[in-house]
């Protein structure tokens, strides 16, 4: 290094500097390369200048890496929504990215469901009209009760009897009980059988055998 420093400067300094910076044309560069083979001073300077330039380049890169626009130059272009979104995701931590993705998926699913329902109006219209049997009975009772408040009580039909074909009232309570016995599916007890027999006997004697038509006051 001391040798290089103390070596006499070659007269071809302008050619050397053009060669170092690559601004010599092809002929000049070839000519100077031939000179370098003979001139130790220029060889040493080419090498040391190259190292100096490396140092300056390293400093320059460090300086320019931290460069940010100054306010006078601040005429930022309007970012597109996509660019802004991309920058947001670039700067966001991983957990935020995941949460955003989950929210997006949930939103898409809900939107899809809403769209599906919109495209199938039958489902949506029937959804409010479906009743259980219990609800139907309740509705009928309510309607009948309302109707009963408007109409006289005598005309209130029983919920179990249709309006169009009302059943005739039984003549006697015994007829009613015998009918109940007859319709009952369970076997009759002894008391019930006797009651039923008595009723049947009573009916048959009244209707057929004990009629005394000749003695009737009307026939006479």
């Amino acid at each position: 290094m001391n040798e290089m420093q103390n070596s006499p400067t070659c007269e071809r300094a302008p050619d050397l500097i053009a060669f170092v910076y690559g601004e010599a044309d092809e002929r000049e560069a070839h000519d100077f390369q031939l000179h370098l083979q003979q001139c130790g001073s220029c060889r040493a300077e080419v090498a040391s200048f190259g190292m100096v330039r490396e140092s300056i380049t390293a400093w320059r890169d460090e300086v320019l890496a931290g460069f940010v626009s100054t306010p006078v130059m601040a005429q930022p272009k309007t970012k597109s929504a996509l660019a802004a979104l991309r920058q947001f995701f670039d700067l966001s931590p991983l957990w935020l990215k995941g949460a955003t993705a989950m929210a997006a998926v949930t939103f898409c699913v809900l939107a899809g469901l809403a769209l599906f329902r919109t495209n199938n109006p039958q489902v949506s219209s029937n959804s409010g009209a479906v009743y259980t049997e219990q609800e139907v009975n309740q509705k009928v009772k309510e309607a009948l009760a309302q109707q009963a408040r408007v109409q006289p009580p005598a005309e209130i039909p029983s919920p179990n009897v249709t309006i169009e074909s009302p059943r005739p009232k039984p003549k006697t309570s015994r007829t009613s009980s015998s009918t109940q016995f007859a319709r009952s599916q369970r076997p009759l007890s002894k008391a019930e059988r006797e009651q039923l027999a008595a009723e049947l006997r009573l009916l048959s004697s009244d209707d057929d055998t004990t009629l005394n038509l000749l003695g009737d006051r009307i026939n006479q």
Binding site: M1, Q5, A13, Y21, E23, V52, I56, R60, V72, M73
Partner: protein, 188 residues
């Protein structure tokens, strides 16, 4: 704004009242002008101020641009002038700071490895100090060449110097930087 338009066309648009034209010019050149001012001044704050002043001066003198030189050369010339005037204003402070650095940073030469110089903050600070310690006329050409990557001809146009003078100044600047960085390396 058409990004393929030349600087000269952009200047013409700015002169006809295109509000965004000058902004495009600023966007194109701000980084390189900042590099120049930083290389010249050595402090980020000063460099930002000088860059700002450069573009403000360019905007104010836009009608004075005759188109004889390239727009880039014109901007660089304004920037160099801004740096020189700024250095004049702060000459006393700068000289005292550099004087201290001369006393503390540079010692007898021994060995020198630029790769090591570039490795850490301390080493790059040494490069900055070495460049700052150069005379202004040498510093200009080094910064324009190394930071701006201008050609010799462009530097000659910006500084209004003969081509041979640019080469000789650059040679002298590199020689002085080499010696100063050797001193720094030998001290560490």
């Amino acid at each position: 704004m058409d990004t393929l338009a030349t600087d000269e066309i952009i200047v013409e648009r700015a002169l006809t009242g295109d509000a965004e034209a000058f902004g495009e010019l600023v966007r194109r050149w701000e980084r390189r002008i900042f590099a120049l001012t930083y290389g010249m001044l050595g402090r980020e704050e000063d460099a930002r101020d000088a860059t700002q002043e450069t573009f403000l001066a360019a905007f104010r003198n836009l009608r004075g641009f005759r188109g004889e030189a390239k727009v880039s050369s014109w901007l660089h010339r304004i920037a160099v002038n801004q740096c020189i005037s700024r250095q004049r204003r702060t000459r006393v402070r700068s000289e005292s700071a550099l004087g201290e650095e001369h006393e503390t940073s540079f010692a007898t030469p021994h060995s020198y490895s630029p790769a090591h110089v570039a490795e850490g903050r301390q080493e790059t600070a040494a490069v900055r100090r070495a460049i700052n310690s150069l005379p202004v006329e040498l510093r200009q050409v080094v910064v324009m060449k190394e930071f701006e990557e201008l050609t010799f001809r462009e530097i000659a146009d910006v500084l209004d110097l003969p081509l041979s003078t640019v080469k000789s100044r650059l040679y002298t600047a590199l020689k002085q930087l080499q010696m100063r960085l050797q001193k720094f390396e030998s001290r560490n």
